[in-house]
C-alpha cells in the first residue's frame, strides 16, 4: 500500500484536485499517490471524470484547485509540452499528414536530435510495438490496432516518466483488445514506466493493474489492488460495478464478543467473525453481497456444505467455460446468480430443474 512506501518513490501526487465545467463539478477533491513504476488504473462509469483527471495530469486542463506533483515537482503553471508525461488519446490522434515513422519521430524532431539517431530510435520503437517495417506506411492506411500502436510508440519514444492512456483499447475488437492488454503489460514491465490507464472496463482494470482507483461522480470510491477491490468492495456501488454481485438483505439476530449471528434473507441464519463487518454499518439493515462463484452447485445428493438450499433453475447462460444459473431464492420472489466452471463431464442443468446449492458463511460480504 502507498502509505507504507517511501515518499521518494511517489511518481504522481494529486492533492485536493477539483475541476468544474460551468456549474458542473466534475472532479471533487481527489487525493491520490501513484508510485514509480506502477500500473495504475482509473476505473469508473462514463462521465465520472476520469478523462478530466487524466487531462489535468497531462496539463491539457487546469485544475480549479489543488496541486499536481510529478516526480517531486509541482506542475502548477507548467504547460503540457513541458511535463514529463505523454498521452495516448482515445481517438489516437495520429497526425493524418504524416506517415508512421514521422508520427513516431514527432517529439524527437522537436528535440533537434541528429537524423540518424532519430531514425534508429524510431525503428527500435516500431519494433517494440510490433510495427517493424511500417516506417513509410501512410497513416490513413492503418487498421485500428495499428493506429493504437503508433500512438503508443509516439508517446513512449520520448521516455516519459508517466504514460497516460485514455481508454486506449476501447475501439478494438475483443481478440485484439486482449492481445493489446498483454502487450501493454509487457511493455510496461520492460520499461518500468509509470502507466496511468483510464478505463470503464472493469475486467481490463483487474487484469492489467497493480492498483485501481474506482471513481464515481468525481470522487474516488475505493482504492486498492485488483484483489482487494474484487474481494472486499467497500460499498454496494463498487461491488455492483466490479464483476457480478448478488445483493441480499440481512439482519443481526445475536452477538458474541467475536462473532455476530445474522439472518440472511431467505437463506437462513449464519454466524461469522465481527472483523468482516465494516464500521458504521447498521446491524438491523445489513447489505450482504455474494459473488456468483462463492456458491457451489452440489451435484451429488450426499455432498456436504456448511449451508445449503434447494432451488429451481430459472435461466441458464452458457458461456462455454462457465455456466451462469439464475435461481429463485427459497420462499422469495428474488433471484440470485450462481456460476459454475464447466469442468469435463460436469452436468449443465436445464430450465426448471431442481438444483441444490451450497455456500460458506465466510464468503459473504457485508457492504456499506
Amino acid at each position: 500500500m502507498t502509505s507504507e512506501q517511501n515518499d521518494n518513490e511517489q511518481m504522481v501526487e494529486l492533492r485536493g484536485i477539483r475541476k468544474s465545467f460551468g456549474d458542473l463539478e466534475v472532479v471533487k477533491g481527489i487525493d491520490l499517490n501513484i508510485a514509480k513504476g506502477e500500473f495504475f488504473s482509473l476505473l469508473g462509469p462514463s462521465g465520472c471524470g476520469k478523462t478530466t483527471l487524466l487531462r489535468m495530469i497531462a496539463g491539457l486542463e487546469t485544475p480549479d484547485d489543488g496541486t499536481i506533483v510529478i516526480s517531486q515537482q509541482s506542475m502548477n503553471g507548467v504547460d503540457a509540452n513541458k511535463r514529463p508525461t505523454n498521452m495516448v488519446f482515445q481517438s489516437y490522434a495520429i497526425f493524418p499528414h504524416l506517415n508512421v515513422g514521422e508520427n513516431v519521430a514527432y517529439g524527437l524532431i522537436k528535440q533537434r536530435l541528429p537524423k540518424a539517431e532519430i531514425r534508429q530510435r524510431v525503428d527500435a520503437m516500431l519494433k517494440m510495438v510490433d510495427l517493424d517495417g511500417y516506417y513509410n506506411r501512410p497513416s490513413y492506411a492503418l487498421s485500428g490496432g495499428q493506429r493504437q500502436r503508433v500512438a503508443l510508440a509516439r508517446a513512449l519514444i520520448l521516455e516519459p516518466k508517466v504514460l497516460l492512456l485514455d481508454e486506449p483499447l476501447s475501439a478494438l475488437d475483443k481478440k485484439l483488445r486482449e492481445q493489446m492488454q498483454d502487450e501493454l503489460r509487457r511493455i510496461q514491465r520492460t520499461l518500468g514506466i509509470t502507466f496511468i490507464l483510464v478505463t470503464h472496463d472493469q475486467e481490463e482494470a483487474l487484469i492489467m493493474s497493480d492498483r485501481i482507483a474506482v471513481m464515481f461522480d468525481g470522487n474516488i470510491a475505493q482504492l486498492g489492488t485488483p484483489k482487494e477491490i474484487y474481494d472486499k468492495p467497500l460499498s454496494k456501488r463498487v461491488a455492483s460495478f466490479i464483476g457480478v454481485m448478488n445483493f441480499l438483505k440481512g439482519k443481526c439476530v445475536g452477538e458474541t464478543k467475536t462473532d455476530i449471528k445474522v439472518e440472511v434473507a431467505t437463506l437462513g441464519q449464519v454466524s461469522f467473525s465481527r472483523d468482516l463487518v465494516p464500521e458504521g454499518v447498521s446491524l438491523d439493515h445489513l447489505n450482504i453481497g455474494f459473488r456468483p462463484e462463492m456458491f457451489t452447485v452440489l451435484y451429488d445428493k450426499k455432498e456436504k456444505a456448511e449451508n445449503t438450499f434447494m432451488s429451481e433453475v430459472k435461466n441458464v447462460d452458457y458461456y462455454g467455460d462457465m455456466t451462469y444459473y439464475t435461481l429463485a431464492l427459497p420462499n422469495s420472489d428474488m433471484d440470485i446468480t450462481v456460476s459454475m466452471r464447466n469442468t469435463s463431464g460436469r452436468y449443465v442443468y436445464g430450465l426448471g430443474e431442481a438444483i441444490r446449492v451450497g455456500w460458506r458463511s465466510s464468503s459473504l460480504l457485508i457492504l456499506n
Binding site: A80, N86, S91, A93, I94, H97
Partner: protein, 266 residues
C-alpha cells in the same frame, strides 16, 4: 438510355444558348479577321492578340490588377485563417454578431459597398489609388476565405493539436507542423478564389480606382471605341481561359482539403 422528355431537352438547349453562347462568341470573334463584330466571319487572324502586346495602358492595367489581386488574396486569406480559427475553436462574447458582420459583404450589393467606401475615403481626405481598391477587395474576399477555411479548421480533431502539445511541441510549433499542413489545401483554395474574385471585380474597382485603372475598368473604358472591340474579345478570351484554369486548381485543392481532414479517425 431513356430519351429525355422534349420539354426538359428544349429547356437545356435554350439555357445553354442564352447563357453560354455569348461566351462562345469570345473566341470566335477574337480570331475573326474583321473589326466589325458580325456574321459572316471573314477569316482567321491572331492580329488582335498581337495588337494587345503593344498596348501600354493595357499592360499598366494588368499590372495594377495583378498587384491588387495578389495583395487582396494574401491579406484576405490571412484574415480568413484568423477568423476561421477563432470561430472554430474559441467561444467569446459577440461571436455570432462579429461572424455576421464579417460575412455581410457577401450579401451586400457591391455598388453599395463601393459608394459607401468612396464617400468615407473622400471624407477622410484619402486619395484614391491601388490601395483603396485593395481595401474594397479585402472586404468582399474575406467572407469567401472564411467560409472555405472554417470547415477545414472545424473538422480538425482537437486532440490532434493536443497530441502535438503533449509531445513537447510549442503552440507556434503545433501551428507550423500540424495545423497549417492540414489546412494548407484550404489556404491555397482561398488564395486562388480571392485572386480570381479580385481580378474580375469591376464595380468596387470602378469607384475606388484613381488614375490607375484595373483590368476590368480598362476593358470597360475601351468599350467606347468600336474599333477596339475585337481586341477586347481577344483579351476576354485570355481572361476566360485563365479563370477556368484557376478554378480547376481551386477545386482540386478544395477537395484535397476535405480528404486530408476527413482521413482522421473519428
Amino acid at each position: 438510355m431513356k430519351k429525355p422528355p422534349l420539354l426538359l431537352f428544349s429547356f437545356v438547349i435554350i439555357y445553354l444558348v442564352f447563357l453560354y453562347a455569348p461566351i462562345m462568341l469570345l473566341p470566335i470573334f477574337a480570331f475573326n479577321d474583321s473589326s466589325i463584330i458580325a456574321f459572316p466571319l471573314s477569316g482567321f487572324t491572331v492580329d488582335w492578340f498581337v495588337g494587345l502586346m503593344g498596348e501600354n495602358t493595357l499592360h499598366r492595367a494588368l499590372k495594377n490588377s495583378l498587384i491588387i489581386a495578389i495583395t487582396a488574396a494574401v491579406i484576405s486569406t490571412c484574415f480568413g485563417i484568423l477568423t476561421a480559427r477563432a470561430m472554430a475553436r474559441h467561444n467569446f462574447l459577440g461571436k455570432r454578431p462579429s461572424f455576421g458582420l464579417i460575412m455581410a459583404p457577401l450579401f451586400l450589393p457591391e455598388i453599395i459597398i463601393g459608394v459607401a467606401l468612396l464617400i468615407v475615403l473622400i471624407q477622410l481626405g484619402i486619395s484614391l489609388n491601388i490601395w483603396t481598391v485593395i481595401l474594397g477587395h479585402i472586404l468582399i474576399c474575406t467572407p469567401f476565405s472564411v467560409s472555405i477555411l472554417y470547415s477545414a479548421f472545424n473538422n480538425m480533431d482537437k486532440s490532434i493539436e493536443e497530441a502535438s502539445l503533449d509531445l513537447g511541441e510549442t503552440r507556434f510549433g503545433t501551428f507550423r507542423r500540424v495545423i497549417f499542413p492540414l489546412v494548407k489545401p484550404g489556404v491555397i483554395a482561398s488564395l486562388l478564389i480571392c485572386f480570381t474574385i479580385s481580378l474580375d471585380e469591376f464595380v468596387i474597382a470602378f469607384f475606388l480606382t484613381g488614375v490607375e485603372p484595373t483590368l476590368p475598368v480598362y476593358i470597360w473604358a475601351q468599350l467606347r471605341f468600336p474599333s477596339k472591340l475585337p481586341s477586347i474579345m481577344a483579351l476576354g478570351f485570355i481572361l476566360l481561359l485563365l479563370s477556368l484554369i484557376l478554378l480547376a486548381i481551386f477545386e482540386y485543392y478544395r477537395r484535397r482539403s476535405e480528404t486530408l481532414i476527413g482521413n482522421q479517425p473519428s
